[in-house]
Chain length 463, copies 2
């Protein structure tokens, strides 16, 4: 049994558990009260704030504990936008931000604000110059994650922060994935994070607002957490969050090196072991514990079940594993294959043998799924009776990922070189996966055309 | 050592601690994931929701876990208001609601909505007929607490819910104080509560929205908790909250009878033991564990410190114990004395001897504070040299509660019967406490007049 989904939530760190249990006795009272139980709670809260601030690299009075990382993002963005309302209502985000950032941007846009989404390259990286080009005189706030949660790619926060600083625009950094590994470098203005990503308990987020940043909390507030996070403080959880952040930081350098070696092993070995795989995310500038790849002709949900049965818990950005039937917005923004997507995110302490065992079960798991789906094999002979026609139409309407791609692959040999296949599909994933298949197979993706139902995706056979 | 502030926060119930510790191992993963850790987390979350729904008396799919009771109130009010935006933008609250309700009302008003605040009588009770009279064709939402958090008075929720139902207006009941004791009766539409009030952990609130109630969540949302509470679910805390609610309910009837006897003892004995005390809140329709009284000529903060030193943790609605220098809005709405205010709220399990010990130390604690402040004693002889003047002016400008009242009491004997004393004061508490003193002392409160600084409070000597 191996849990390889630390980027979703890390199991509770032993230090967090210890701190939580100890502070359940001392930290349950209202820290605003003057009696002894209240004073004890206040001392715990203050100490936790100092420890967390030290780990972030900010002043304690710049740091607010929120009820989750999501809440920190929502409050941080709306507070910063409101604080600079006079400057303008323009918001910049990258295309690969966490959904909490993008949801905030949607709400801002629905309320009449404007949003620029900065694209990323195929590795998932924002270019500092295109980010800088998005800055406008009416930009109220810019947001950039420190590292991506789905593919592990690190963003050029320092350079983007410099550009923002030069333009007088505050930069909010969502540091949820990177904070356990170290401080966020660069001259950022706001920062958010989430304790359960580093083995702290659920229910604790961090919102840091640097002194001097204009900030106007929105919605009903109370006197708690400097008016930035309403509601009774959850002190035992806050204490556990701060204690475990210190603990993971103490081991961060050594553990990062170790995990980086393990994820590098996966990066290198998976394409050797499994045919038709695309490893995604930056190979160098990446988080230590995350590695992501996509497998052609594979249904992500079935693969996850296979791996679960084999004892591995991973997640996927494939459309079939989400409730919305659309592929992950991160994979979409990168323009990479989304079918059969697997994110491996190793918790600190993952034994090397678990990774080796994963590499030993993965090829069969993928092969089983492909076989079930009737996917073409690499060694399949060319079609015995190629069609005379220069154009074939494949009707994949009503069929979900990865079927349209499989059907395309099965007939491409039926048209002569130079001929085209038109795949009719109403599956959102086809838009991403058919071009990605062309790229992997060296075929020519001509483009898409609206069809009676869905779209026609046109592919020209090159070889 | 006795903690008598359960209405702020109850110490963790042993069942909550047990459930929390057990579910830390099982409930840390993302319940939206398909692998085994996720499925286990989902099972725990579903079971907790069923248990909490059973205790509330609603369907599981009507109940959302939020990150605090405050958040439940904020989200509940803004969602219900937005859901009925087409009907109108009128909101009704009682004058003695929890601050989270009143803060929501302020935000609504600032955004252009209208708010009617229904007054209460001297016992802190809303009259169903005056509540019903506030209902208008454009009323989007009505809010009423089940019982008051500062004085324990129970509200006529059933009658008010009937009036609201007849008018087609949803009623939101803030049940934070009463839910541990039983379900809220009556045909309410929305309900909120807070786990740390019943010995659950901090960080868990409940928001119940009955099927058929129009509800439009505001702000950025995600797919969690039916889109009504964004952010990663805090499952161990939720499990502990549900388990402890069941546990306190199992003992509620017996414990309520026991605590009611103890608070009745305080209600009866305090006025016998301590001169110049007003016990506030309804004597009959009240929560089992709360009793509140105010002591003339006493500074609430000093009294709290004296009681803390004697081993009792209580809270106060006096102005001097708050950061705003205004008395509790509840005491203000009731029109009762606010100086020297003490709220005793007994946690379940409070031993009878603790209450007796409290009654034995209270008289000296109050007497010490009065002596330090130079308060007039009940047995003080009348002024040896009454003034010839029919009107005396007392300049209490810059002096805080309870000094203006003490200075008034010291000179009232200096004017002849029928003469007046004008107390100049810029302390917000004087507006409440000078009339309350007149009521207690049988003197005639004439009224207030604006003065150069602050106000002149005019009192006519009657006896």
């Amino acid at each position: 049994m191996a849990y390889f989904d630390a980027a979703s939530a890390a199991p509770l760190h032993p230090v967090a558990r210890q701190a939580l249990q100890a502070s359940l006795d001392e930290g349950w009272a209202d820290p605003a009260r003057l009696y002894r139980e209240g004073r004890r709670a206040r001392l715990l809260l203050d100490a936790a704030r100092e420890a967390a601030a030290e780990a972030v690299g900010c002043r304690p009075d710049e740091l607010t504990f929120t009820s989750s990382g999501t809440r920190a993002v929502h409050s941080g963005i709306e507070g910063a936008l409101a604080g600079r309302r006079r400057v303008g209502r323009h918001l910049i985000v990258s295309a690969v931000e966490h959904s909490s950032v993008l949801h905030s941007a949607e709400v801002h846009e629905a309320a009449g604000g404007s949003v620029t989404t900065v694209p990323v390259d195929r590795a998932g990286t924002v270019s500092p110059s295109s980010y800088a080009a998005a800055l406008r005189p009416d930009t109220a706030l810019a947001c950039l994650q420190s590292a991506n949660h789905e593919v592990g790619t690190e963003q050029p926060v320092r350079e983007v922060a410099e550009a923002c600083r030069a333009a007088g625009v505050p930069l909010l950094v969502d540091a949820a994935q990177s904070l356990p590994w170290g401080r966020v470098e660069g001259d950022w203005s706001l920062l958010t994070a989430s304790a359960h990503k580093w083995g702290g308990p659920s229910g604790v987020g961090l919102l840091v607002v640097r002194k001097g940043v204009r900030f106007a909390p929105q919605g009903p507030v109370d006197e708690r957490e400097s008016g930035r996070a309403a509601g009774f403080e959850n002190i035992p959880a806050v204490v556990a969050a701060a204690a475990s952040l210190r603990a993971v930081r103490a081991e961060a350098a050594a553990e990062a090196a170790r995990l980086r070696e393990l994820t590098e092993r996966i990066r290198v070995r998976v394409p050797e072991l499994v045919p038709d795989v695309e490893v995604v995310g930056d190979a160098v500038h990446r988080l230590p514990g995350i590695v992501t790849f996509s497998c052609l002709y594979v249904d992500g949900e079935t693969l996850l079940h296979e791996l679960d049965r084999a004892g591995f818990s991973v997640s996927s950005g494939s459309s079939c594993t989400s409730s919305t039937l659309t592929p992950s917005h991160v994979l979409k923004a990168m323009g990479v294959l989304s079918e059969g997507n697997v994110r491996v995110s190793l918790p600190p302490g993952t034994p090397s043998e678990d990774v080796d065992r994963f590499l030993s079960v993965l090829p069969d798991a993928v092969a089983d799924v492909r076989e079930k789906l009737g996917a073409p094999t690499a060694s399949a002979p060319p079609s015995p009776s190629p069609s005379d026609s220069d154009e074939l139409v494949v009707d994949s309407l009503g069929k979900l990922c990865p079927i349209p791609v499989i059907e395309l692959a099965k007939v491409i040999g039926d048209v002569p070189v130079g001929g085209t296949v038109r795949v009719l599909s109403d599956d959102e994933a086809a838009r991403l996966d058919i071009p990605a298949w062309c790229e992997m197979r060296g075929q020519d993706y001509v483009g898409e055309e609206p069809a009676d139902h869905g779209f026609a995706y046109v592919v020209r056979r090159v070889s």
